[in-house]
Amino acid sequence: MATDARTEPRTIGPVAVPSADRFRPLLGLAVPAALVVGWHVVVATGVIPAYQLPTPLRVAETLYGMAASGELWDHVAITVQRVFLGAGLGIAVGTALGTVTGLSRTASDLLDPLFQSLKNIPSLAWVPLFLLWFGIGETAKVLLIAVGAFFPVYLNLSTGIAAVDEELLEVAEVYDLGRVESLRRVVFPAALPSLLVGIRGGVGLAWMFVVAAELIAASQGIGFLLSDGRTLARPDIIVGSILLFAFLGNCSDVAVREVRDRVVGR
């Protein structure tokens, strides 16, 4: 009799089954690493001159210099704080309104066209309005980021709720779960995957909106760093802040997934 339970992963379908391949996460570094090498070669061999695109090393030096002087941490900290607050707010409001429009046809008819229009307004377009409405303080920045995070959450959740399996809703109805309990025990868990995709999208947009937000009278933050780099024609700062965005974006994405895995409990 053969030994029990082989250890290869199941290969049916795309769903990953945790297994012994611990090194898989490292695969994700392969492509970026290749890109960095390519980048270095392109600049080092002069295909692209260094004043247009600095070498990876030069960018690392610039970042290291800012890190050593402590300046970098201030930029990162303030941007992370803004994104955190803004995304939190946007996700909260998006969840609330997504639930309402997902559940009520009337609410959806009333509000959905408005949101569908507003969702296409670029972040830069909001800047003058937010400046006007909320001034140059932190409020304006956080609210602008919240606007960015709001739409994907709203859109995914309301679609997700409207798509919850009718069969399960009937169960909730037959067993008289009532509005709140149906939501808590049937609708939300069923729409959770949509909500989580929405939250991932929302956090992504929060990072996108941060640059626009930090055009509102900011003198700190990664978005400011980027705009400043552009104004000063400093490609090393530009590329450095792009890398910071990518890195922090990835961190926030890992965090969201972590939360998801906890919540979904898989």
Binding site: L168, A172, V174, D176, R185, P189, A190, V264
Partner: protein
């Protein structure tokens, strides 16, 4: 055909009066139910007295599930009159109607215990010790002790069906509608569950409508067997089962009645 059926069914045949009150708990008059082009039911009349146990049999696709859905208030669009406890089902009907669907319809993300707890009546806190105890008791009754923490995708087909049955029983309604609740169970498990259902019925005075394809089951359990037929479905015959309980499954009278029902079903 339909008019014959009407004639058969219109005055709730004899036995209905045996129920404790005169007014039927379930009253169906000239029910006609249409899904777009398909007419599922046409001219169905049925009255079920309080505490009565009625079995519904009929060919696949004749509208049995549809009848239960209408009774439970899930299908507000139909013609005719359908009342539960005297209230039109379109006006909300009674809240006290429970239903076990033909498919298990379990919540994928919840374990067996939570799924059964969905059936607990409104107002019962599922985390209260009494409620937990009741849920665990039901899980045991349907033979799933040890699986309380399993998720639906870890259950076999018959096990899932039993979870759905336990959920229906947890609701403890005054009218219980059951749509082929034992179809995925083996003989012995089925017999156990049938007997348990009878116990609950007798103890709680529940009014039960049971859809089944198992004629043996129908005559063993019910006071009355309603035979639906045709597409669109209507009542073809009603067979009274006037045999005292507890019944013997092998009782020759039951076997006789079984033949009557089978004949009514047959072409």
């Amino acid at each position: 055909m339909s008019s014959d059926a009407d004639a058969d069914a219109a005055p709730p045949a004899g036995k209905a009066a045996a129920g404790s009150t005169g007014d039927p708990v379930l009253a169906v008059d000239g029910l006609r139910k249409r899904y777009d082009d398909t007419v599922a039911l046409d001219g169905v009349d049925l009255a079920v007295a309080d505490g009565e146990f009625v079995a519904v049999v009929g060919p696949s696709g004749c509208g049995k599930s549809t009848l239960l859905r209408v009774l439970s208030g899930l299908e507000p669009q139909f013609a005719g009159r359908v009342a539960v406890d005297g209230t039109d089902v379109r006006d909300g009907g009674s809240d006290d109607v429970g239903m076990v669907f033909q498919e298990p319809r379990l919540l994928d993300w919840a374990d067996v215990r939570e799924n059964v707890a969905v059936g607990l009546p409104a107002g019962v806190d599922p985390d209260a010790p009494a409620a937990r105890e009741r849920v665990d008791e039901l899980i045991e009754t349907v033979g799933l002790d040890g699986f309380a923490e399993s998720r639906p995708d870890q259950l076999s087909g018959g096990m899932a069906q039993r979870v759905s049955l336990a959920r229906g029983l947890a609701y403890d309604p005054s009218v219980l509608l059951l749509d082929e609740p034992f179809s995925a169970l083996d003989r012995l498990t089925k017999a156990d569950q049938q007997d348990h259902l009878l116990d609950v019925w007798e103890e709680r005075g529940t009014t039960v409508v049971l859809v089944t394809h198992d004629v043996e089951e129908a005559v063993y359990l019910a006071d009355r067997v309603v035979v639906l037929g045709g597409q669109p479905g209507s009542v073809e015959a009603v067979v009274d089962v006037d045999i005292d309980r507890p019944r013997e499954r092998a009782d020759p009278d039951l076997v006789e009645l079984r033949r009557d029902v089978t004949d009514a079903l047959g072409r």
